[in-house]
């Protein structure tokens, strides 16, 4: 359990940092394109597409860290009024569909990326391959489902303690 927690938490932090760098790079690309277009009369070809793909990668890689820090919005005030044991049972019960759905979303995204890779589909403007970005998002969902698994195991092993 501790090993899983360490791996999941550390890797979610590392990928979140990578997501931050990607976002910074995206902003830099957009500004460079504006400067090029305005001052030099030269636009960076494919900026529109790259901004989309980079944003997707950054979002995918930061999903897990957000979940580790309980950043995904939930309504807490009703369940908080229940006894700790009831709260724990509810969380365990509802973690299962979340975990299954997120794992399944990750699997489907990998399958979708594989399909795009096999058909050789590329982006319309720059003819760039984009299936690696789909794999990154799929990986992000896999990590997110592992975070939910970790939280599930913690609740199962944690007795009545919150």
């Amino acid at each position: 359990m501790n090993i899983l927690e360490t791996i999941v938490v550390k890797s979610s932090r590392a990928f979140d940092m990578l997501a931050g760098l990607i976002l910074a790079g995206t902003a830099l690309l957009v500004v460079a394109n504006i400067i090029g277009r305005t001052l030099l009369g030269y636009s960076i070809l494919g900026t529109y597409e790259m901004v989309g793909f980079f944003t997707a990668s950054a979002v995918g890689l930061s999903l897990a860290r957000c979940a580790v820090e309980n950043g995904h919005i939930a309504i807490e005030f009703i369940v908080e009024k229940f006894k700790p044991r009831v709260q724990r049972l509810i969380e365990i019960a509802l973690s299962i569909p979340s975990m299954v759905f997120l794992g399944f979303a990750s699997y489907n995204l990998f399958a979708y990326g594989l399909r795009i890779a096999h058909t050789g589909e590329v982006s319309p403007t720059t003819q760039m391959i984009f299936y690696p970005y789909i794999y990154l998002v799929a990986f992000g969902f896999l990590l997110l489902s592992l975070v939910v698994l970790m939280q599930f195991l913690k609740k199962v092993c944690g007795g009545d303690q919150q």
Binding site: D16, M17, A19, G20, L21, L23, A24, T26, A27, V30, V31, N33, I34, Y48, E49, V51, G52, F53, T55, A56, A58, V59, G60, S62, L63, R65, C66, E69, G71, H72, I73, A74, I75, E76, F77, I78, V79, Q87, I90, E91, L94, P97, S98, F101, L102, F104, A105, N108, L109, A111, Y112, F130, Y133, I134, V137, F141
Partner: protein, 435 residues
């Protein structure tokens, strides 16, 4: 089961699951997927999830969200709020309730570089509350004024909620930003009037602060106001002038905040790192919510609920304003329990066709009014996100005390709403200038 009955069942399951603390984004995606699979087929639902998730995350129009969020967090960590408060404090701090009045002006100014109500409340709360405590302001007035003032960040552009509404309702983000300016300023003035009246009636709750000479006041002008004007002009000015797309305006805003703070010697790697960490976390939360809402929206569309509802409303023999009042009442009640962003994403596919197609209301006006009603939820019990944030800043003040001070500010929002409903031109005039 008919498609509409399946849709209604899905909505009931949605509410049951979110009440039991399941993250709203997970619930929307899960119920949306299951409902879509039930009404079409499993194969179509499989394809829907993977395609919608990737196309939402990689949408250029949604890439505006991390840009404006980063801009706001950079401003937050670079201490722009402190300099703005110093300016407002020197201008009006000597009036009865002057520090709380200065707080409203600071929230509005900070809202011009930050699109988040929670970041605005946290920033200004950390700066203004110690000052108000020093001058013996009543805890209820001081905390409630910051919590309510934070909601100004929702209306004054850039606003993340307006971006999400714009994308969900397929409306121009630039027009929505322009539409929020007058309501935001009007609400700020109403908040100021509320504080002034309360402090005049009972001077003990908001004693006047120190009075500064005009020389000192003019000197303070060069600080915070200059920064905000420069950043606002190059970022949103370019958007309104049609030079930039919203994403470009956000990226230019980020560059603007960095440039201004770099010139002042206040930018360092730690500020960039902290702002990026906050940005990725907030962006992940919002983007997952948007993608999940799109999946849920597909289910609602195939359930034909929006069409059924629009048809039912069209057949009703009651005036449009009563239907609108009913819609706003639903938003008001749900806003007390559900986060503003999630509520907008959840309900716009259902209510927008009714408000715009059937009742004939302007979609920009509807967006501003809806966002304002939903924003009331950030200061009302039991969820009241801004109130919890202020509680985090002023840990010794009980939640009940903060909520007890909120009522006059809620009254100000209702007055503001009434004015905007009576005079819709206040909302639609500025966007009409944008071509």
């Amino acid at each position: 089961m008919s498609p509409t009955a399946a849709g209604l069942t899905g909505i009931i399951i949605f509410f049951v699951l979110i009440v039991f603390r399941m993250p709203i984004a997970y619930v929307m995606a899960l119920v949306g997927f299951a409902g879509f699979a039930y009404l079409t087929n499993l194969q179509a639902a499989f394809a829907l999830v993977s395609k919608d998730l990737f196309s939402t995350f990689s949408s250029y129009s949604l890439s505006v969200i991390p840009m404006f969020i980063w801009m706001g967090f950079l401003a937050f960590h670079a201490g722009i709020g402190t300099r703005l408060y110093n300016l407002a404090y020197k201008m009006v701090g000597h009036l009865p309730g002057g520090l709380a009045i200065a707080t409203q002006a600071t929230c509005a100014l900070f809202g011009a570089v930050c699109g988040s109500n929670t970041a605005t409340a946290a920033t200004i709360g950390a700066i203004a509350l110690p000052e108000m405590r020093k001058y013996n302001y009543s805890p209820a007035l001081s905390t409630a004024s910051v919590a309510a003032g934070g909601a100004l960040g929702v209306l004054i552009p850039p606003s993340v909620i307006f971006i999400v509404y714009g994308i969900s309702a397929e409306q121009s983000v630039g027009k929505l930003f322009l539409a929020g300016i007058v309501p935001g300023l009007l609400l700020m003035l109403l908040y100021m009037a509320v504080v002034y009246i309360l402090a005049r009636r009972n001077p003990a709750i908001g004693p006047a602060g120190e009075k500064f000479s005009w020389r000192e006041r003019l000197a303070a002008l060069g600080g915070g106001l200059f920064e905000v004007l420069v950043i606002f002009a190059i970022s949103l000015g370019g958007l309104f002038a049609g030079w930039f797309s919203p994403t470009e305006a956000g990226a230019v805003g980020v560059a603007g905040v960095m440039l201004v703070t770099l010139v002042q010697g206040k930018l360092n790697l730690e500020i960039i790192r902290k702002s990026l960490t906050d940005t990725t976390r907030t962006t992940a939360m919002i983007m997952l919510l948007v993608a999940a809402a799109i999946i849920f929206g597909r289910f609602i569309a195939v359930s034909r609920i929006p069409f059924t509802m629009a048809g039912t409303v069209a057949d009703l023999a009651i005036p449009p304003f009563l239907v609108m009042a009913l819609i706003l009442l639903i938003y008001l009640v749900l806003g007390c329990f559900i986060d503003a962003l999630a509520l907008i994403l959840l309900t716009i596919p259902i209510f927008l066709p009714v408000a715009v197609t059937v009742l004939g209301y302007d979609p920009i006006w509807f967006g501003v009014i809806t966002v304002m009603v939903v924003a009331m939820g950030v200061i009302t019990p039991p969820v009241g996100m801004n109130v919890y944030i202020i509680k985090g800043v002023a840990r010794d003040i009980p939640l009940e005390v903060i909520f007890s001070g909120i009522w006059p500010f809620l009254f100000a929002i209702i007055v503001c709403l009434a004015i905007l409903i009576a005079f819709p031109g206040l909302v639609t005039f500025l966007p009409s200038l944008l071509h």
